[in-house]
Symmetry: C2
Subunit: 174 residues, 2 copies
DNA sequence: AGTGAAAAACTTCCACT
DNA sequence: AGTGGAAGTTTTTCACT
């Protein structure tokens, strides 16, 4: 037998995710507030079994959280911008820190290409854009786009239709 | 009295969102699975009162859903791309439709600027990028970036700290 | 708009398979 | 890994403020 060291620590165990897990994930991506009982009914499993699986999915880093989606325009942030940044040499860490410290910025990613960073920010008014851009200006060149309508609103990963049973159905109680 | 027609239909009523609502929203953005009972404890309100407010927030379009966040890399989508598109004249609707029909695309927005559309897609392999780009090629010029680490992972809107009481606390039971 | 109390539903724990 | 049953919570409804 080959000398197998214990598996290196990693964020999530490489345990197989089966069709049942995928169906549970598909359901929870659409409605995170589904009860374990209801989930169990949908995937044909008892509530404790669903609870077990969900716990495992959480512990292995597959599910990273449960979040209410709030429409920014309804809570005073009618303006959304996407800003790309072409950083001056060696200034990327400073830019990342600035982004982190700016509460209006709700996500920020490193990307490949000339502009190697971009963020999304929600603003109370277009006028609030300038001061934000000004803070970044010393460290890079910014390109700003106003975000209009969502052509495809955020939607779940294509995990396969949540309707293919992995085991035969149990007989229905009527 | 001026002739007031019934209020035009809109996605959400312009009812005031007070500090209590903001605190509830702040909590639910962080953990959508909090129980009404626990929320009530945190904002110092009874469970039925919290349920009422949440229902109103849902009905008025402030809360648009509750979603489990799934780490794409743990479910077989290790590659994330951001694609900007500069559409050929009059082809934007076709591009939007293509985006809608491509399950790997999890969001797509219209933006200002030369490239007036962008989308985010999660892929099972870089090789899957080409066929997708090829579908868009006839209708516009695409610019693709690979998305690396999240500098700022998606986080809640800055709705104000969820710890400022709007009413005096009730006496604690001990 | 919010409360407390009762009924229904849900989550959790556990012994068993 | 999953089940069914018991115990503890939570959600929901409702009369009252």
């Amino acid at each position: 037998m080959p000398n197998r060291r214990p598996r290196p620590e990693r964020a999530y165990e490489p345990k197989e995710i089966d069709g049942l897990d995928r169906r549970i994930l598909a359901e929870l991506q659409v409605d995170a507030r589904l009860s374990l009982a209801e989930l169990g009914r949908r995937v044909n499993l008892s509530a404790p079994a669903v609870a077990d699986r969900i716990q495992r999915l959480e512990e292995t880093g597959v599910i990273t959280g449960y979040h209410a989606a709030v429409d920014p325009s309804t809570v005073g942030f009618p303006v959304t911008v996407l800003v790309r940044i072409n950083p001056a040499v060696r200034e990327l860490p400073r830019i990342a820190k600035l982004a982190e410290e700016t509460p209006e910025i709700v996500e920020c990613y490193r990307i490949t290409g000339d502009d190697c960073l971009y963020f999304i920010a929600h603003l109370r008014a277009v006028e609030h854009l300038e001061p934000i851009l000004d803070r970044f200006a010393p460290y890079g060149r910014t390109t700003t786009s106003l975000v209009h309508a969502a052509t495809v609103p955020r939607r779940p990963l294509p995990l396969g239709a949540p309707d293919r049973p992995d085991r035969p159905d149990r007989p229905e109680a009527e």
